[in-house]
């Protein structure tokens, strides 16, 4: 069961990473990035590292995404003054 | 006995979560998608929490806090999402009544 879950999580991580790179709308990229963070949280949990998982959930999916969202808003403001 | 009940409750909760995800996938526009996702997922998560309490009763305090937190945040974020979605694109209404227009947003 666990190996299967690990492989499934890895595949979804791959999908999220590819989507983050290739999606046209930057907002979708940020969303995929957040998905990537959540996926890696699950992966760390599966590898029984709850400390790392907690850090990844808070920093990777939370603060990291916030920085991207802010950057996105700033650049959009620039485009339409 | 209680363990069995907890598992059943968790299963029902997971089913609700699946339904909400399905609704998110199938519904046509933002507001109806939110209709599907928020209510069903709130109920689903609460059922899962309840099931967990039945499964391992010694965690009741933490799980209760979790449920409270979900109850506080989920409707709030849904309302914010709805507001911003309305401000961006309005909503479809066949008889052209827009009650939100009178409110100052």
């Amino acid at each position: 069961m666990i190996p299967f879950l690990i492989i499934a999580t890895l595949l979804s991580l791959l999908a999220a990473a590819v989507m983050a790179i290739y999606s046209r709308d930057p907002a979708h990229s940020v969303l995929s990035y957040m998905g990537f963070g959540l996926g890696s949280t699950v992966l760390y949990l599966l590898f029984s590292a709850p400390d790392v998982a907690l850090t990844e959930a808070v920093i990777g999916a939370g603060v990291g995404a916030l920085v991207f969202v802010v950057a996105l808003l700033q650049t959009q403001n620039k485009e339409q003054p | 006995m209680f363990e069995r009940l907890g598992l059943v409750l968790m299963g029902i909760g997971a089913l609700f979560l699946l339904l909400s995800a399905l609704g998110l996938w199938r519904m046509p526009d933002t507001l109806s998608r939110m209709h599907a996702s928020t209510k069903a997922s709130t109920l689903g998560i609460l059922l899962v929490v309840l099931g967990a309490v039945c499964h391992t009763p010694e965690l009741w305090f933490k799980l209760g806090l979790l449920g409270l937190f979900v109850l506080l945040t989920n409707p709030l974020s849904a309302s914010i999402l709805g507001h911003s979605s309305y401000r961006k694109e309005g909503f479809y209404s066949p008889d052209h009544i827009d009650a939100l227009k009178e409110e100052s947003l």
Binding site: A53, V58, G62, L66, Q74 | F69, L76
Partner: protein
């Protein structure tokens, strides 16, 4: 050097990196005979003897490798100082929403989130969590207020900087005290207590407390700088 050349260069470097990593992974999969199992056992043994901390990860992070943690805290300090230096002229808030529901929600949730962060920090030696995670959680409560109140919410930057600096100094002083009173950095100058209770672990808990306070203040400052940045 123009942008195009820089980009081409970075693509080249990325290609190099990826190929080396793939080769490395393929190589390691076949070549490795890991001795890792023995390390975990030794570590748990040492941990049970010397620190009385239920969460062995915590004792590695704060005690065995306390110096690394100190270094990481100063890296964080340095990067946030850099951000603050180059974004310090804040003019207006990016999120100017005046949503009453959000404001009330933020008011209700703020103490709860801070409480949760404090819990994560103080229970770092018992359960997963600790200073870094709890600090970021506390900072997220402040981010919520930034989002809800827009321009009307300004936490005192002076207080934030002061708490950040003083908690960092407290961390270093703890190390120096260990050197002076004990024989090595972060030496156990407090009583250890019994494993599994809230007041166990001696210095380790204090280290996480300082780290948590510092990270919370730093992350709040960072998000404030990002959200209230002038037009770049």
């Amino acid at each position: 050097m123009n942008l195009k050349r820089t980009l081409a260069l970075s693509h080249l470097l990325t290609g190099l990196l990826v190929s080396v990593m793939i080769i490395a992974l393929l190589g390691t999969l076949r070549l490795l005979t890991p001795p890792i199992d023995t390390i975990g056992e030794t570590l748990l043994h040492i941990n049970a003897q010397s620190t009385q901390v239920a969460n062995a990860v915590t004792s590695v992070v704060t005690y065995f490798r306390g110096l690394d943690t100190l270094g990481e805290v100063s890296i964080l300090f340095l990067s946030i100082f850099g951000v603050a230096l180059h974004m310090q002229h804040s003019t207006r808030n990016l999120f100017g929403a005046h949503d009453t529901l959000l404001q009330i929600g933020a008011q209700v949730l703020f103490p709860l989130i801070v409480l949760f962060g404090v819990y994560i920090i103080t229970h770092g030696h018992l359960s997963p969590g600790g200073g870094f995670q709890g600090g970021v959680i506390i900072a997220s409560a402040f981010v919520l207020r930034f989002l809800a109140y827009g321009d009307h919410y300004e936490p005192s930057a002076r207080l934030l900087t002061l708490s950040e600096s003083l908690s960092g100094a407290g961390l270093v002083l703890l190390g120096v005290l260990g050197l002076l009173l004990g024989d090595r950095i972060f030496a156990q100058i407090l009583s250890l207590g019994t494993m599994g209770t809230l007041l166990s672990g001696g210095v380790i808990e204090l280290v996480y407390l300082f780290v948590g306070l510092k990270v919370a203040a730093e992350m709040t400052l960072l998000s404030q700088h990002f959200i209230k940045a002038r037009d770049v």
